[in-house]
Symmetry: C2
């Protein structure tokens, strides 16, 4: 495809964004409702396209886990529609007044939330993300340009087509949601260089993808995802609570970014806590890794290739003994990804220092790291979990997909 | 200098940032006060270094305007110190609670403002910016790494040295403020690639510099500055008010980003408004540019090389006639830099549409664009004016130099 086509597509997104920016929330919410209905109505076509993707995936040897993420069936179609209906109920962030002041010269200043405009998302082969992101974008007044994984290309094409029809039926531009999958592998790169046409880029996927986007993109990026997540079991921890939190954070679900990767144990309690933790983890099927002999633990595996920075996303965990709270904080800040880290302790001073000095999006005291999640936080939606410090940090909901604007109302004021 | 030295310098900034992050506001404010005193005490050394920079500047043929920006004298030293004392009075943004909620499971969630950590600033040869930025960084709990223009290198070296002593005297790490000027031209490039060591990069300077930083940097950037600023004189404008606003916005000060570059006039009033505007502007010494014959105006110059996107920053202005409000909005969104744009009108509907549909950081009704300024907005400080949509938009004060963090307090909660 020529670059022209690509630019035309993005220009159409910009026009759609302008229409969305002035569309009342009711109309945008109606479009989301229409999407839910369209998905149910198009279930046959969606499942047929999905079957093609699945067959192609099997042929090309896609891993079972990925095939499962890709797979749609009647129940999952229903839950796509249900998720859309939930998103249509979320409060509208657009127009929210953030600051207001009247200057001595009578000028009236209001800072309000406005949509970004055009948001690009590069993500993996998960059809539910396609629908979620389209609805979240509509809910925040943004047009969205999607680059899904090629493995889900046919499913996504049918989903986008169905959603575009629904949006148009609700009186908004069908280009509010577009896919660039037809531009193939190049599309992502072009999207990254579309400064001036795309206002924000959100990569969701592997660490390698995110690294590439951050390095190459001239469009502002929000980094999401990578989670080398720690629990520090302090000397003043209740051991049963530590066991429960560590097991939950590691084993309740392993493939997610808020799953635990490393447990640090205070040296003063290591002789009892480390064997207890290792035993409980092994009983749950978790493989223990370490870089040095652990007290009371035989046969720990070495650390992963990335050492203490390894993100396993599997039933593997690294256990380390640290001299004190300072060493724990130092370790977390050095090897972590500034995602989520928790301390288990009954000592309020130790907790206070950990919460203040660990430089992560979410810091926790006596809680499982698995709670770092837009749904759990009560946002009703999640665009991803930002691990950068600019614009948004931690779980991102609808307000995080807005920018701001200062509106100044005067009566002829000029500057002296 | 070896890369090692550069990395060591940034690592020292990180350590300083960690200390600043937990230092109480009183100590940071005391450090700013100490900076004010140190500048006064070191006036002799600062003026001597500045005289060297000025002499070097004259030799190398630096323009008079730039020499004037560079020059320090007793009065300007006094105002540097005074500015620092003002910044020491600003409210501390660190720790401000932005959101708080208690989840049904008892988890207590608090979103608080935290410093970014290490902020890099690449700027022009203005010694006052060196002091301002150091104080603003301290006021927001951040360490700052400065790359000033080479023309001010000696002045900045003495200023930084004096400030470091003051900060150390106040019990904070001297590396809270560092300059990378000794790394020469390469320093800026290295700063842009220091992802993981630098948390935010703010370029302040020419459009070319900003473009380079946005393109090359892997560190998150806040774009500041470029201002192709418009006034739209609507058919329902009061002509005397339009004249006053246009003259003020163009001629009160021309070298600044919020100065007016283009006036658009509604066709229905063009025959009276355009000649009146052109005459008043010419009387004030402004050269009128246009891309087509203007009603009642002889001898307009052609547009600049950049056409309607030219940022003159001088006593030059472009005047255009547009068919209607839609054409005006279209023109502003197409050729502007999304900085500041104003409409002069008595028609509330036209004003409402302009304010809603012009996609700029600051949109105004019946006011001079010169008001887009941290000082005028009552921020007490200005890091720059962001023209991007992510993180901060418009004038940036202390809160815009902070990130956020979620603090989760539990009693052993795990996820079901």
């Amino acid at each position: 495809m020529a670059d022209d086509d690509f630019e035309q597509l993005l220009t159409a997104s910009q026009r759609a964004a302008r229409a969305l920016g002035v569309a009342p929330a009711e109309r945008r919410h109606a479009a989301i409702q229409a999407i839910a209905e369209a998905i149910e109505r198009s279930a046959g076509a969606i499942l047929a396209a999905n079957a093609e993707d699945i067959a192609r995936g099997r042929e090309s040897g896609l891993a079972e886990g990925l095939l499962d993420r890709l797979l749609l069936d009647d129940a999952r179609i229903a839950s796509l529609a249900a998720a859309a209906r939930q998103l249509a109920e979320l409060p509208d962030p657009v127009g929210e007044v953030l600051r207001h002041r009247t200057l001595p010269n009578g000028l009236d200043l209001t800072e309000v939330r406005v949509p970004f405009g055009v948001i690009g998302v590069i993500y993996e082969a998960r059809p539910n993300v396609t629908v979620d992101l389209a609805c979240i974008a509509l809910g925040s007044g943004n047009a969205v340009v999607l680059r899904g994984g090629s493995a889900a290309e046919r499913t996504n094409a049918v989903l986008v087509e169905a959603m575009q029809g629904a949006i148009e039926g609700a009186g908004l531009p069908r280009e509010s949601v577009q896919t660039i999958d037809r531009f193939g592998r190049d599309g992502a790169g072009r999207l990254m260089r579309a400064r001036g046409l795309v206002d924000l880029l959100v990569p969701r996927g592997s660490a390698a993808l995110i690294e590439r986007v951050v390095t190459e993109s001239t469009v502002p990026v929000i980094e999401t995802g990578a989670g080398v997540v720690h629990a520090f079991v302090d000397r003043a921890a209740q051991l049963p609570m530590a066991l429960e939190i560590v097991l939950n954070a590691k084993a309740q679900r392993t493939s997610v970014c808020n799953a635990l990767e490393t447990v640090l144990v205070h040296r003063e309690i290591a002789e009892t806590a480390v064997p207890a933790l290792a035993e409980a983890l092994r009983e749950a099927g978790v493989t223990v890794h370490a870089d040095a002999p652990l007290p009371g633990v035989e046969g720990a595996e070495p650390l992963g290739e990335g050492g203490w920075s390894t993100e396993h996303l599997s039933m593997d965990i690294a256990i380390g003994v640290v001299d004190d709270l300072d060493a724990a904080i130092e370790h977390v800040n050095r090897f972590g990804t500034h995602h989520t880290d928790t301390i288990v302790t009954d000592d309020p001073d130790a907790a206070g220092r950990f919460l203040a000095e660990v430089d992560s999006a979410v810091v926790m005291h006596n809680a499982s790291t698995r709670f770092t999640d837009g749904g759990e936080f009560g946002f009703g939606a999640e665009v991803g979990i930002s691990t950068q410090k600019a614009h948004a940090r931690g779980p991102m909901g609808l307000p995080e997909l807005t920018s701001t604007k200062w509106i100044v109302r005067g009566t002829g004021q000029v500057r002296a």
